[in-house]
Symmetry: none
Subunit: 194 residues, 4 copies
DNA sequence: AATGAATGAGTCTTCATTCAT
DNA sequence: GATGAATGAAGACTCATTCAT
């Protein structure tokens, strides 16, 4: 049955995320994963071509979760400042919760020299942010940008970096709030200055 | 004599950088490295505790090269705008040249969950940039910042990200010059806006 | 099917006993064993956790064989003297046949500091001898002993030692028969004297 | 200087005994030994042909110590009973103190299939015991034996076994005193019965 | 005699993947 | 679709030994 089938896929993916997050990609064996998922060794290969094929699936999963949370949190704001603040807050929260998965995606994709996959998975995310930027421009809250998509990417990366530096790089000589405020002002100044 | 000794270390490190850059950390065997370095298998372990111990050494090496090039290129400028432009240009150039090494550092450190090592290696780099920022403030070219070091980190990461997206993420729907110009203005606006 | 499965275990164990007996534990590689057993390298690890895990299995096997032969040979005797003579004869025969396995068990267990495993494997053997001793006492052939089990252990070890000295230590300035006779009388005197 | 020279030999031997006793022969590297001895790697090979060449030296050393202690303790006795009691006591004490060295000798010699070396090292020990036995016979304390040397070996092995079972095999369901008493009576009965 | 850097052969063990049931 | 026993290639690492100084 298709539900049955999909169950095994999710079971394996979920187990993989949990174990790999904890132990890292190369310290995790297929055997670990199937044991946790409660399926047989061979079953893994019915759903994933290889061990490496897990990574894009995990990355995809992460972005899906991120976008879901993002839309949920930011849709109550009408002004750009409020949106930006909530956006930053959400990124910090997600980074905290999923730091291990984020790290595994970085390393997993880097290993294969397949960083460009990362970009393609991010695409809808960038587009969503671009729409929000455009709304800010229409409302006259921020200035016209030369290249909307590029600016979107820049800002998303900027905020993610700050959050990662805070949670993953353990660069915590500021509080979370101070760190977020700095990012907020940095971006805001850039978006509003003539 | 002491040169002899140091030679083996350099020989191995250089071979490691070249091969790992090309094939990735986990597709490279110690055997590959020592063969290229022209030393015996066991000699590797006289200089590195393990295969993973290579990564911090490689990262360190990368930062050293980066800072050297950076100082060399930027010291002819007296105004901040000129400095920033040269700085961005240098980052793009270095990223292009060392993209494989950069990727291997990311993935290598991520594998071990030792991203904080990255931060500690970056420390002198951050400090150098901070000094440049301060000079810009003294000259009245940019506005006072709440947290100098934090801003330094933010900007360095911002520029590196843009360059990495351009060269590693293959996000090349702009030219290199357009990309650099965007970054320049984004940063400049943020640093000069009241 | 279940025979199939058990076959691999037996195949590996048998090959291991033969090769290790001949070449010693540390001159034998897993590769040697699996080649002789006709299974794949990895298959070894499905049945034994490590190379060292072979030793207790081999020791167990040796004791099983020993007890089997022992019971077979001694059960025709009703008087203790006859039993003791046959017992000694059997030990000499087994020691001769399995001297290499005996040596490998000693050294193998000693390496791990796990000599106590040896004792636990011997337990049923000691108990069996104790029963025979008790029968001798009931029949009035030998005198009451303070500690039956302890005496059993002492005698078994005594006889084994003599046999090992004869076959392994190559201390052959007596014939096998003389050696056995000496042991017989030594033990008998001790068991019958008031 | 010859003292100098001999110093290094003793330094290495002593270090070897200590480390190998603790970690076992195959978990100890030459590197461990020379580090503890405070000499250079190459120096080891000036005094020992190979790693395995250590074992006979260690065994020899153990027997020397044993005989020394033995003579020291037993020479105050004139009757055989007193001698035997002291002998047993001494064996138990030495076994306790040197159990690790004993184990390493067993395993070390067994590995090479060179158990006969053990016998040759024991030779003077056997002879010394034989002399004591003869004295007992002259004094009419024990009966004439068919084969003096063989009986000596048997008894030494018997007592050592009991002690080893007590200290190494951890077969301690009797106290040390009970164990020793049993051995004493067992041997005494056998030596005095007609 | 003493050193210790260099060697490189040797081996255990892991693990992704296959395939007969 | 599901299983899991079997495979065997691959590789990190150890360590006894050598030798130029």
């Amino acid at each position: 049955m298709s539900t049955e089938t999909h169950d095994k896929y999710r079971l394996i993916l979920q187990a993989a995320i949990e174990i790999i997050s904890e132990k890292g990609l190369y310290n995790t064996s297929i055997s670990d994963i199937v044991k946790k998922a409660g399926v047989a060794q061979g079953t893994f290969y019915l759903y994933f071509r290889s061990k490496n094929a897990l990574i894009p699936a995990i990355a995809q999963n992460l972005i899906s979760i991120t976008m879901e949370k993002m839309k949920e949190n930011t849709n109550k704001h009408t002004d750009f400042d409020g949106f930006l603040q909530t956006f930053i807050e959400a990124i910090y929260t997600i980074t905290d919760e999923y730091k291990d998965v984020i790290v595994l995606c970085y390393s997993g994709l880097a290993i294969d020299h397949s960083m460009e996959i990362w970009e393609s998975i991010y695409q809808p995310y960038y587009e969503w942010f671009e729409t929000e930027l455009e709304r800010g421009i229409e409302h006259g809250e921020i200035i016209e940008q030369t290249n909307m998509q590029w600016t979107s990417k820049l800002i998303i990366n900027l905020v993610e970096n700050a959050a990662e530096r805070f949670y993953i790089g353990r660069d915590q000589d500021m509080t979370k709030e101070q760190s977020m405020t700095e990012v907020f002002h940095f971006v805001r100044r850039s978006l509003t200055a003539k």
